[in-house]
Symmetry: C2
Subunit: 413 residues, 2 copies
Amino acid sequence: VSFVKQFVCTVCKTNYPSNYTGFTCPKCGEKGILDIEYDYRAMKSVVTKQYFKANSDYSMWRYLPLMSIDKRPETTLAVGWTPLYETKRLGSLWGISRLYVKDEGLNPTASLKDRASAVACAHAKAIGATTVACSSTGNAASSLAGSAARMGLASVIFVPKRAPAAKVTQLGVFGAKVIQVEGDYKAAFSLSKQAIAHYGWYNRNAAINPHLVEGKKTVALEIAEQLDWNVPDWCVVSVGDGCTIAGVYKGFYDLFELGITTKIPRLLGVQAEGCQPFVTAWDNNEAILETDENTIADSIAVGIPRNPNKAMKAVVQSNGEWIAVSDEAILAAIKTLGNTEGIFGEPAAAAAAAGCYEAIRRGVISPNDAVVVISTGSGLKDIDHAKQAVEEPIRLFPNLELLIDVLRKKDIQ
Amino acid sequence: VSFVKQFVCTVCKTNYPSNYTGFTCPKCGEKGILDIEYDYRAMKSVVTKQYFKANSDYSMWRYLPLMSIDKRPETTLAVGWTPLYETKRLGSLWGISRLYVKDEGLNPTASLKDRASAVACAHAKAIGATTVACSSTGNAASSLAGSAARMGLASVIFVPKRAPAAKVTQLGVFGAKVIQVEGDYKAAFSLSKQAIAHYGWYNRNAAINPHLVEGKKTVALEIAEQLDWNVPDWCVVSVGDGCTIAGVYKGFYDLFELGITTKIPRLLGVQAEGCQPFVTAWDNNEAILETDENTIADSIAVGIPRNPNKAMKAVVQSNGEWIAVSDEAILAAIKTLGNTEGIFGEPAAAAAAAGCYEAIRRGVISPNDAVVVISTGSGLKDIDHAKQAVEEPIRLFPNLELLIDVLRKKDIQ
């Protein structure tokens, strides 16, 4: 049984009943992204701290009663219940006493997007779809192809001409039909839209599908549970389209409404300086304008965010903040996370860490605040950029005296 | 409290007491690899099915009482408790009804080696070492560097000149001092040995350190527990040095000795045709001879296995088998695992799947046998080889009619 009460358009606020099958508001078109509202009073009778204590399913599906689909699919990848590391060494370096990192790179296809794609595929199966589709070259695509393969669905992924061969390869391994479109991302997106309409494939394009946020929110539910329901003062997350921060907010909101937690953490939305539409709009108190996409953090390089309202609402309602970080700061954060804690994040993941550090430096985050940084994806997906962050190896002939000499100069023993 | 009874030399069978601090048998030198024996009678009083039922630590450390170190380190990466997938689609394709894949690529640095490195670092900390070292370009190195960073240890990794830049980068992210030796792997290994002796660093070189197998065995303990202690008929694992299959055997052996399980699965050791010293020795009933290292499965490309006795014993004692597979079969298995189940393994991981398929084809594994294949590492570590396994994307101009036409010819709708 799902506790969905209704779907509400984030633009015109029109309500649609719980059995509504559309993805967006027909009045507002594609911008009419729907928010899913729950009957928390009914949900409360099932979802309690005790419910979780008795639940031995250590995956995102332990949160099924808080989701918009009825049934856990029979076969799934092992999405969720990723580690929340207490990172004392990093915290001490940054001068805060309670710092945690949630390593979402340990999801099956190595990013937080697995949570959304798992829900998409589960929903697709529930409504009888046999093919799922999206346009992306990144984590959304690989997570969709992976979950689809595991659940026995076909997948079709539209990528732009410039899509990196490595990412196309990952899609191919998962058996996705990859359509490489002569043109840019917009051309790929546009063709995907037409094809999805023509064939009736299940649509996993970002933002449009309201169930995706309901999958993503499980990361917040886990953070809260892993901290024994004592939610942090701040939760830091990097932002591209805005869907992930919207999901994080939704998860914390659900728990607060259920009375399981006593507050909603302040959300720090982090963007790259070279692509910061949210930060600019926030700083200037103006509407979100299209920007360039100049950053190494490809997973958050989104010049026109597709989920602006939900993302802005997440920061405003949580009394949060927006911050931008340079690519240099992102590279430094990749190295610092790896060096001090053994966590290897992709640039977009390290952006959140860099934003946390910058917020501490500016006094936005206080030394006594409890902070969770979400590391959204694995660094193994982008070795090339990480290379810019690290020292060259020590090269020498195989001779112990030579080695001792070199190490002495570097003060290693 | 650890239940170690004694250390026994795998060559000359000399016993050493439980407080012995050396790694190898002084009489036999480096070939005198030690096996750790436990006092199962004492262990039985603690380690029961009930013990695990009450244990909420879902990581490799839930098996601490079966290990050779006393204490779980304070900070660790989230190693272990990786998913054991029931793979019905793959099983049906291969004609067996009970097939499972253990995805070790979901460990923190993306391979099974994390289990050994976590124990190495824990042991290093316990005996007061501050620097850990090994020579490797592969999963042993990245797992050591990652666990060392997390536990606050320094790490020094020796790599040969030809070490791929991507792998060196991963080590750098984890803050390892990387020594790139002008020469081949043997030169790197030899310099590492001299340097470890000179500086007194903690030695994580394969086989030599008897505690590593005790970490690796946790994969078998997990498989058994995840199957509710009904161990499979076969467990399939790819073999290079021989340490991993030795660990798998040790884990199943422990449980059998404790009376928690009723049998030890037959172990199928899989090698690549281009580097199959164990298979050749087995087929010809002769000693293990040095071979070439001609295979894409770099993680098992070991021409002189360093742990031959323990590995051979594992197969003999379990009534197991050895099998070799071609690189073509390995590439095909990468694709099949990905397509049917959404699991992306590196070549050495897919080798086990390919070996399983070959054993079914030959009738070594029967259709009614329950089989677990261990996928030892993530395919994200070796995208280049995976590329050879997958179809080219469909390239076209952004036009729906064109797309429909192409897809019709491929019978997609």
